[in-house]
C-alpha cells in the first residue's frame, strides 16, 4: 500500500533494513543448519513402453526420455534455477513470512513434443503428435 507522503523516506529505509536483516538471518540459518538442499533441476525419467510390455500395440518409439523437475526453490535462488522475477520475490517473502507464503515451485518451463505410432483395436495405425510430453527445462515459478 502507498504510504502517506510524510515519512515515506524513513519508512522505506526501515523496510529495506528489515529485508536486509531477514536475508542475513536466512543466509546464516542455512549455513549453520547445513541446509544445502539441491536446487531445482531436471532429472532423468525414462518411460519404457518396452518394459511396460506394450510392444504388441505401440510400434514406435520403444520408450522416451520424459524427465521431471525436482529440487528446492530456496533462498538464494541461483541463476541456474531459471527463476521468474516473481519467484525471486516470493522466496524472499517466504523467509519473512514462512507461515503464510509458500516457497516457489520447481516446475517445467519448457516442454517438447513426441510422436507415438500405435495400433488401435481394429488394427488401424495411428500416428499422434503429443505436444508437451518431454521436459526440456525446469525452473522456479
Amino acid at each position: 500500500s502507498a504510504p502517506a507522503q510524510k515519512g515515506r523516506q524513513s519508512n522505506r529505509s526501515k523496510q529495506q533494513k528489515a529485508v536486509q536483516e531477514a536475508l542475513k538471518a536466512a543466509e546464516a540459518g542455512s549455513d549453520t543448519l547445513g541446509l544445502s538442499k539441491e536446487g531445482c533441476k531436471k532429472h532423468e525419467l525414462y518411460v519404457s513402453f518396452k518394459e511396460l510390455g506394450w510392444q504388441d500395440w505401440i510400434i514406435a518409439p520403444e520408450g522416451y526420455a520424459a524427465y521431471y523437475c525436482e529440487g528446492e526453490c530456496a533462498f538464494p535462488l541461483n541463476s541456474d534455477m531459471n527463476a521468474t522475477n516473481h519467484a525471486i520475490v516470493q522466496t524472499l517473502v517466504h523467509f519473512i513470512n514462512p507461515e503464510t507464503v509458500p516457497q516457489p515451485c520447481c516446475a517445467p518451463t519448457q516442454l517438447n513434443g513426441i510422436s507415438v505410432l500405435y495400433f488401435d483395436d481394429s488394427s488401424n495405425v495411428i500416428l499422434k503428435k503429443y505436444r508437451n510430453m518431454v521436459v526440456r527445462a525446469c525452473g522456479c515459478h
Partner: protein, 257 residues
C-alpha cells in the same frame, strides 16, 4: 535399485516395478494418450503395408531428440515394399496433429467373383478421433509390373464413391479420381479422397464404400488384376489402405480426474 548408464553417458535409477505400480503407471499413461484401454490389435496386422508407410511418416516427423525408430517392427518390415512418403505427404504431415491409416474391410477378392470388373473397398472412418478435422486423405493401392503384357499397353484406373446401392440395379457412382498407367508401371497409386472422407466423417450413413474400375485403351472394363493391381489377395505388404491426416479443431481440455 540399481543405476544404469545410458548411451549419452548420464545415468538413472532403474527399478523393477511392482505389479500394482505397473498397472497404475499403465493406466496413467493410457489416460495421457487419451485411450480408454490398452488396444488389442490382430497379430497379423503388423505385416501389412499400412504400418510400414506409417513408420516412414513417423521417422519423417521425428526430431533430433527423437531417434529414428528401429523397433522390432523395423526388422519385420525390412525388405517389404515401402509405400514411400512423397513430398506432398511430408507437407500434409507438417500440418497434421494426427495421421491414421484404415484397413480395407471388404473381404479379399470376394467381390471380383460377383463383379469381375469392379473391386469394392470399405473403410470404417467412424473411428476418427473426436474434435479433429480432416486436412487430407489418400487411397493407396499397389500396382505390380506385368511381365506377360506389352510394356506399352495402357490402362485407366478410376475410383468411384458409391452413392446408392439398390439391391436389384446397378450402384449409383461418383467419379473421384483417375490415373492412366502403363503395364510396365510398378509402385503405389495414390488417389485423393479428402472430400469424400470429410463427407463420411460428417455423415457416416453415406459411407457405402468405393469402387475401383479398370478400363483398357478401348474403354472396355477389365479385371483389375489384368493391370497388376493388388486389390485384396497377394502379398500383405502390398495391401491397399486409406491414410487420413487430421488437425485439431479446438484446444482440448483434459477432464479432471
Amino acid at each position: 535399485n540399481f543405476s544404469v548408464d545410458n548411451e549419452v553417458g548420464s545415468s538413472f535409477i532403474h527399478r523393477r516395478l511392482r505389479s500394482q505400480e505397473r498397472r497404475e503407471i499403465q493406466r496413467e499413461i493410457l489416460s495421457i494418450l487419451g485411450l480408454p484401454h490398452r488396444p488389442r490389435p490382430h497379430a497379423h496386422a503388423k505385416h501389412t503395408a499400412a504400418p510400414t508407410f506409417m513408420l516412414d511418416l513417423y521417422n519423417t516427423v521425428s526430431t533430433e531428440a527423437e531417434p529414428r525408430a528401429y523397433s522390432r517392427y523395423r526388422a519385420v518390415l525390412e525388405g517389404q515394399a515401402s509405400a514411400a512418403v512423397s513430398p506432398q505427404d511430408s507437407r500434409f504431415l507438417d500440418d497434421a496433429d494426427t495421421v491414421m491409416s484404415f484397413v480395407n474391410l471388404v473381404d479379399g477378392d470376394r467381390d471380383l467373383l460377383v463383379q469381375p470388373h469392379t473391386q469394392a473397398f470399405w473403410f470404417d472412418v467412424s473411428r476418427i478421433p473426436e474434435g479433429e478435422a480432416i486436412t487430407a486423405a489418400e487411397f493407396r493401392i499397389y500396382k505390380d509390373f506385368i511381365q506377360e503384357r506389352d510394356g506399352n499397353e495402357t490402362f485407366r484406373v478410376s475410383v468411384y464413391q458409391v452413392l446408392q446401392e439398390p439391391p436389384d440395379s446397378e450402384a449409383a457412382l461418383l467419379l473421384l479420381d483417375q490415373r492412366d498407367v502403363w503395364a510396365s508401371d510398378d509402385g503405389w497409386l495414390v488417389f485423393d479422397l479428402t472430400a469424400t472422407s470429410t463427407l463420411w466423417q460428417l455423415s457416416p450413413e453415406q459411407n457405402l464404400g468405393l469402387h475401383l474400375v479398370l478400363e483398357d485403351r478401348n474403354g472396355h472394363k477389365r479385371n483389375p488384376r489384368r493391370a497388376g493391381l493388388l486389390t485384396g489377395s497377394g502379398p500383405k505388404d502390398k495391401q491397399p489402405f486409406l491414410v487420413v491426416f487430421f488437425k485439431v479443431k479446438a484446444v482440448r481440455f483434459r477432464g479432471a480426474r
